[in-house]
């Protein structure tokens, strides 16, 4: 297959739009300024995916349609705690270092809201329907087993989001399956 560079440029623009929407939505939910730091598309071998995400939690979702794939929203542990605290302001008081059930619910939902705007950007552009699963919370250490289930090679859309005031970092990784992605590129 030959990939048309203009289509990759377009795909990159869509991803960037999606990342900006993610930052905007996170800013509304947390009530503080949030900026998009990085938005890029890589082609990787899945076993080389960065392993720096060990202390933290991750919202894991799958999406099916055109394209289908996997999606991860990663927060370092401290950041996740801060996010939960900001989200639950006026709803529920803070617990200890671990995560309470309502905190888990809040983090899952933030993963859900952030990623659906990204995925729906594709669906609207391609005029297809992409269904997103309900979110699951996993430990960052479980990411490897998810990656192992995937194809050897993968496209990955990465967005790095940063809330300066609270020093909260969040990384979003979207892994569409290659076959679907090729079809998407043809449709663009």
């Amino acid at each position: 297959m030959k990939i048309d560079i203009t289509k990759l440029v377009k795909l990159n623009e869509i991803a960037k739009e999606g990342s900006k929407t993610i930052a905007r939505n996170l800013s509304i939910m947390l009530g503080i300024g949030v900026e998009m730091r990085i938005s890029k598309i890589d082609f990787i071998t899945t076993r080389d995916f960065p392993k720096e995400m060990d202390d933290g939690i991750c919202v894991y979702l799958t999406f099916t349609g055109l394209p289908s794939g996997n999606l991860l929203v990663y927060f370092p542990h401290e950041g996740a705690k801060k996010v939960a605290r900001l989200l639950l302001q006026g709803i529920e008081s803070d617990s200890n270092r671990g995560f309470s059930e309502i905190e888990i619910s809040a983090i899952k939902e933030i993963g859900n809201i952030l990623t659906s705007s990204f995925i729906d950007g594709w669906a609207n552009l391609l005029k297809t329907e992409i269904d997103i699963s309900t979110p699951n919370l996993i430990n960052a250490s479980e990411i490897e087993s998810i990656l192992r289930e995937m194809d050897e090679y993968a496209f990955v859309f990465s967005s790095h989001i940063y809330a300066k005031k609270e020093d909260i970092k969040c990384q979003i990784y979207v892994f569409p399956y290659i076959n679907g992605m090729i079809e998407v590129l043809e449709k663009l």
């Binding site: 929407t21 939505n25 939910m29 529920e92 309502i102 659906s116 729906d120 669906a123 609207n124 309900t134």
Partner: protein, 119 residues
């Protein structure tokens, strides 16, 4: 006061919405999936249902269609994430009367529900 039933599979989102609505409306109950939503709708007879779309067991679109079958006058406001245009088209087909977008912004949520009630 206007009675509202909150439907969402996320406990956090239910609590958040409850906090936004209280003071403006009476929250009569919560449901965490589409099956529970239909049951509680019949039991509690709310004036408005706020309906999440993506939920386990039964999604919000099917639940809306069922509620409308039980009572065509029922008012259902869909809770969608920004940009879910395809899903919204299906929801309108199922009979949804309005929508609110996640992340919630309190004034917009109140306004959307009042708008649906005016109709």
């Amino acid at each position: 006061m206007v009675k509202v039933l909150i439907v969402d599979d996320s406990e956090f989102m239910r609590k958040l919405l409850r906090k936004i609505l209280e003071g403006h409306f009476t929250v009569v109950g919560e449901a965490e999936n589409g099956v529970e939503a239909v049951q509680k709708f019949m039991e509690l007879k709310p004036d408005v249902v706020t309906m999440d779309i993506i939920m386990p067991i039964k999604n919000g679109i099917s639940a809306t269609a069922e509620i409308k079958k039980v009572n065509p006058q029922a008012k259902v406001v869909m809770c969608t994430s920004v940009g879910q245009e395809e899903k919204m088209k299906q929801a309108i087909k199922a009979g949804a009367d309005g929508y609110i977008t996640k992340p919630y912004q309190a004034p917009k949520v109140i306004e959307a529900i009042q708008e649906v009630l005016r109709r």
